[in-house]
């Protein structure tokens, strides 16, 4: 909300300038977004009168005007506005002047006719966002006066942003009250004096929804002048607060809302039938509102209805069948207290975020209705005349007004803030804030003012005292540690170490959104039934929670490949979300994508595209901190996202760990990638559970290395060869590795040669040739028997 400092100063006398007032408000807890001049920066703009005009000789839409700007002689100004007419008063900017957008006005000829300045619209002067013609000024606007002075001089606007508990600050009065407490001053204006009633008429009001509408105040005013116009000062104040003038009665209700914080509504009395009922909407009910839209009403909406129809949504927006129009002469003013619970959430749901709803959702003063009616009546009588009836206040529920005292203990105040505030100051602060305070030996009892319904418990009072006393008086202290050292489980692998493993291997960490595109995700994982869609996704390509990290990483791959990056190594850690047997499972996951050359371009290594074994090496590196690399099992298994010949399901001790493989060419094509890629994804938890190293004695006897090359069928896996060799070699085997795989000349097609290197060693003696030969023979026999291997000479 934008607060005019001039308006504010009608309520509280302050010597400070707008900047200082803003700082004080901020230190007290009302955030100040900006402090700006109320009138935009324009120069040499005067109140002018169009004396006469004639058509421009060579341009249909232009008029050549003779304009009086109070300089004794008339100026000739060419004007293209449609509403220009003789006798009209409007602002004129003279040559040498400047508009807020920086445009400098010069003496110029328009289509051959000299023009000594420009007649201005409100938009051109930065006074409105839209304008259809010249900014028409009242007929009594003094010709020749600087427009700035005419509009009220140098006012400043303080734009405040309140926290949701401080609805009481959403008015000039509210901010003035807050400043009075912060500055230790008293308010200037007291309650508006009741207007003398002229007629006895009142309109019947019944409240059915008592909890939702505890108070409903109304007043009839008859005989408004139909030709009344809202005075410029009021229109200008509305504008400064971002509101548009509509009709004097409506403008007054808006003005009172800004001034006192009580939203109001003015009905055309003649368009209401019978009496008013305040109730919840009925199933199937519809209503046309002020914005000319018709809405289907939900039963949680509060409505104001007359005998024939719903005439408005209480606290949100008035109706479109009983609103004030140019023809209105008799009105019914409404000022009600709708509770926050009755309004909350509905305006957003219906996309009706009105100023009234904003205030009711945060709560208005439950005792401010009659005052608002009196103030509005006074203003309406001043502007449009009329005969007011009595103020009719219907109170349905008195429990909303809290009169219970809240206890504040001196010791608690000191222990929570960490400072002691002198007793007299505590009493003074609470009193200035409008509390009824009584002090005793151990503390205070305080009854909050009706508009501070956010104050409920002792801690709320402590905050009030603390914030007015000043948070900056609280010192910085260290809380003494009472706890010993925390546990440090050594077998647990720190996630930071795992990330470092990949970083050292050239990976860059990515962070992608947890919600992804449904179509892409289904193409990748092929199990749409496991995905969790969002009720309110923010964009069309972030509609459901990710089933894994590949959709996000592949989008990043695509993004970077499209930006001349051809070597990609990215990883991510984070939760994946799956629905399993109707349970939501959130599992920590680590995943990566690699594409392009395995190594950065360099002189010392042949340029080689990353392959399955490279990625497998990265995966083993990730398993090493938990000592799991030797236990990794990988099974060639198809996956919707992966190349059928380069796809493996990973597991540890039979428990699923994840997947690794090359992207399926169809995925590569559908993402329009210029090159292929490999991906992996693993459950993170499985990689974090390691073990504490346990020393084993080192053999003092020499080890023997023996090699063996066998020819096996293509389908025989390396893992099977190794497992058979390991088992057959027995206890002497220290290590066995595959050091070569060969296909081609000398090997039948469909078969491959696998070369094994075995390290044999005994812990108690030096091995003989016979020992080693025996072990190698067992290995050869086993490979021949179980895997159909032949020995390659």
């Amino acid at each position: 909300m934008k607060i005019s400092v001039n308006w504010l100063k009608e309520f509280i006398k302050l010597n400070d300038d707008a900047q200082s007032i803003g700082k004080r408000l901020g230190a007290g807890g009302v955030e100040v977004a900006s402090v700006t001049p109320a009138i935009p920066a324009f120069e040499k703009v005067f109140v002018a009168e169009v004396k006469s005009l004639e058509k421009h000789p060579s341009a249909d839409k232009l008029n050549v005007c003779q304009v009086d700007v109070g300089q004794g002689k008339l100026l000739q100004i060419v004007c293209g506005a449609a509403n220009v007419r003789a006798g009209m008063r409007a602002p004129a900017i003279l040559p040498g002047g400047k508009l807020p957008d920086g445009t400098e006005i010069k003496q110029a000829a328009l289509r051959g006719v000299e023009s000594s300045g420009m007649l201005c619209s409100a938009k051109e002067l930065g006074l409105a966002e839209e304008a259809t013609g010249l900014f028409e000024l009242p007929a009594d606007a003094p010709v020749g006066k600087l427009l700035r002075e005419y509009l009220g001089g140098d006012d400043q606007l303080i734009e405040i942003e309140i926290t949701p508990n401080r609805g009481d600050c959403l008015s000039i009065l509210g901010v003035a009250r807050e400043l009075a407490a912060l500055y230790g001053k008293t308010l200037e204006k007291s309650d508006a004096a009741p207007v003398k009633t002229a007629i006895k008429d009142s309109f019947p009001v019944g409240i059915q929804a008592e909890q939702a509408c505890p108070v409903f105040a109304s007043r009839i005013i008859k005989g408004l002048r139909a030709d009344a116009v809202t005075p410029l000062w009021m229109r200008e104040r509305l504008r400064r607060s971002g509101l548009k003038p509509i009709h004097p009665a409506v403008d007054v209700t808006q003005y009172v809302m800004l001034e006192l914080g009580q939203p109001m509504h003015a009905y055309d009395l003649k368009r209401l039938e019978g009496g008013i009922t305040v109730r919840m909407a009925k199933q199937g009910e519809r209503a046309k509102l002020l914005n000319s839209q018709t809405y289907d009403l939900q039963p949680d909406l509060l409505v104001i209805a007359d005998k024939s129809r719903v005439q408005g949504l209480g606290g949100i927006m008035g109706g479109g069948e009983s609103n004030v129009t140019a023809a209105t002469t008799d009105i019914l003013l409404e000022a009600a207290f709708f509770t926050p619970a009755a309004i909350s959430g509905r305006p957003r749901r219906m996309d009706l975020l009105t100023d009234a709803a904003y205030r009711f959702e945060r709560g208005v003063d439950p005792q401010g209705q009659a005052r608002a009616i009196e103030r509005a009546t006074q203003l309406i009588l001043d502007i449009a005349g009329g005969q007011p009836g009595p103020v009719a206040v219907v109170t349905a529920d008195k429990t909303q007004i809290k009169t219970q005292a809240i206890r504040l203990r001196r010791a608690r105040l000191a222990s929570l803030l960490g400072i002691s505030v002198p007793d007299a100051e505590v009493t003074a602060i609470l009193t200035r804030l409008g509390f009824e305070v009584s002090a005793d030996k151990e503390g205070w009892n305080a009854v909050p003012p009706s508009y501070r319904f956010d104050i409920e418990i002792e801690e709320d009072l402590i905050e009030e005292v603390g914030r007015v006393h000043g948070y900056d008086k609280i010192p910085a202290l260290q809380y003494p540690s009472r706890q010993g050292m925390d546990r440090l489980p050594e077998a647990r692998v720190d996630l930071r170490r795992l990330r470092q493993v990949l970083v050292e291997r050239g990976y860059q960490e990515a962070v992608t959104y947890s919600f992804v595109d449904h179509a892409l995700q289904t193409r990748i994982y092929g199990q749409p039934e496991a995905a969790l869609p969002l009720a309110n996704p923010i964009t069309e390509d972030m509609t459901e929670m990710r089933l894994g990290l590949w959709p996000g990483l592949l989008k990043v791959l695509q993004y970077n490949l499209n930006r001349q990056q051809n070597r990609i190594r990215l990883f991510e850690t984070g939760l994946r979300f799956t629905l399993q047997a109707d349970e939501i499972k959130q599992e920590n996951t680590i995943a990566g994508v690699v594409s392009g050359p395995e190594f950065p371009m360099q002189w010392g290594e042949a340029d080689r595209t990353v392959d399955f074994a490279d990625l497998r090496g990265d995966i083993e590196a990730l398993l090493r901190p938990a000592s799991l690399a030797g236990r990794l099992e990988s099974q060639a298994t198809p996956h919707p996202a992966l190349h059928p010949g380069q796809s493996a399901r990973l597991s540890l001790g039979g428990q699923e760990l994840g997947w690794v493989g090359a992207l399926h060419p169809q995925i590569v094509r559908s993402l329009d990638l210029p090159q292929g890629a490999l991906v992996f994804e693993m459950r993170l938890e499985a990689l974090l559970d390691g073990k504490i190293p346990a020393f084993e004695a080192i053999s003092r006897f020499p080890a023997v290395r023996r090699d063996l090359a066998v020819i096996v069928g293509e389908k025989v896996s390396g893992a099977a060869v190794l497992a058979a060799a390991r088992e057959a070699a027995g206890s002497l085997l220290q290590e066995v590795r595959i050091f070569d795989i060969y296909r081609g000349l000398g090997i039948d097609s469909g078969r491959k040669s696998v070369a094994l290197g075995l390290i044999l060693q005994d812990s108690s003696r030096t091995l003989t040739d016979e020992d080693a030969d025996g072990a190698m023979q067992r290995v050869a026999d086993r490979l021949a028997r179980d895997l159909g291997a032949t020995i390659r000479d």
Binding site: P164, S344, E361, I419, Q508, V556, I584, E605
Partner: protein, 341 residues
């Protein structure tokens, strides 16, 4: 005596000098000192001399033999050194060329910030806790004292799951609740991770990271909160003169509540474009844990008090590393990521 021994030494000297390889030198050695060598033969012929001359002749020949041996040995050393020098010369490398293998990557700036804060708090004995990102209303709102109809709840811009009573956590504060319910008081924890709000524009991304801190114990005051946050900010930015400003604010789960500004890390408070010429930067929200929150976690608010804070990780990263657009964090452009090694 058939040979002129004096001439022999001179001849050997010339021949050794002419040898350019160890092989040629070895041939020369055989020529002079081998079994059938010139000098060996001379020594063998001594027996033919009369006994009176024998001793003197033998002495002369041995002097010559020693001289020739020294000449050959010296030449051998020379040739070996030249060989070694040539071998070493042939083995030299261009030491200026870059090394082989992988070049390390790096962590995402948000992770970098979180790991840094984690380290600072681990040093103070805080335990790291985590929680789910799909949360329920109880942990995200109810237990944190968000009343059902309070605008604070609506202002959270929450993502909800379709057809299920769950939401995406709007802050890391639910981890406070889970930790307190698990451990009770006293407790000191931090929690970090992804949070979600339905907001996407120049300065907001629908997902971002928070770090949450919580300390509940006997006699904990707002002064202790100020102490820890002052340390955190000064250590994080490595600016010992960094100032903190507490402004009253409202979060349903704390009372009193505050927003904290730090003196601008770029201009040190004198005013610049980043701090919009205020000298201050808003960085976090905090306060004393609301009694209703302690009660919801079965902790007696009369015995225990505590503080809590929540920091936006991206905000800190942007200030620390000078990132000027929050959305860069989620584009994952390699040219951006590679700047964080």
């Amino acid at each position: 005596m058939s040979t002129d021994l004096t001439a022999l030494v001179a001849e050997a000297k010339a021949r050794a000098a002419a040898c350019t390889t160890l092989g040629a030198l070895d041939e020369a050695r055989v020529h002079y000192l081998g079994k059938k060598g010139v000098i060996t033969l001379e020594l063998q012929s001594l027996g033919k001399l009369p006994g009176t001359e024998r001793a003197a002749a033998g002495q002369r020949i041995n002097v010559v033999k020693q001289g020739v041996t020294e000449i050959l040995d010296a030449r051998k050393t020379d040739l070996e050194q030249a060989d070694l020098a040539a071998k070493l010369a042939s083995e030299s490398v261009d030491v200026s060329l870059p090394g082989r293998g992988h070049e390390a990557g790096g962590l995402h700036p948000s992770t970098r910030v979180m790991e840094r804060i984690q380290t600072l708090f681990e040093r103070m004995g805080f335990r790291i806790e985590s929680g789910p990102e799909i949360e329920d209303e109880f942990h995200n709102f109810d237990a944190l004292n968000f009343k059902p109809d309070h605008p604070a709840r609506a202002e959270m811009d929450t993502f909800y799951l379709k057809d299920r009573p769950f939401l995406l956590r709007t802050h890391t504060s639910p981890v406070q609740i889970r930790s307190m319910l698990k451990v009770g008081a006293p407790i000191r924890v931090i929690a970090m991770g992804r949070t979600y709000r339905h907001d996407y524009d120049m300065t907001h991304t629908p997902m971002f990271h928070q770090v949450e801190g919580l300390l509940v114990d006997e006699g904990v005051s707002m002064a202790h909160l100020r102490g820890t946050l002052t340390d955190l900010m000064q250590r994080f930015f490595e600016q010992d003169d960094l100032k903190l400003r507490f402004r009253p604010s409202y979060f349903p789960f704390v009372e009193p509540g505050a927003e904290v500004d730090i003196s601008c890390v770029f201009c040190h408070g004198s005013g610049c474009r980043v701090c919009k010429h205020t000298g201050w930067l808003e960085v976090l929200g905090c306060g004393m844990v609301h009694p209703n929150v302690l009660k919801a976690c079965k902790i007696d608010p009369e015995r225990y008090t505590g503080w809590a804070f929540g920091i936006g990780v991206e905000r800190l990263g942007m200030l620390r590393y000078g990132i000027d657009d929050i959305r860069m964090n989620y584009d994952n452009d390699l040219r951006f990521l590679r700047q964080f090694q």
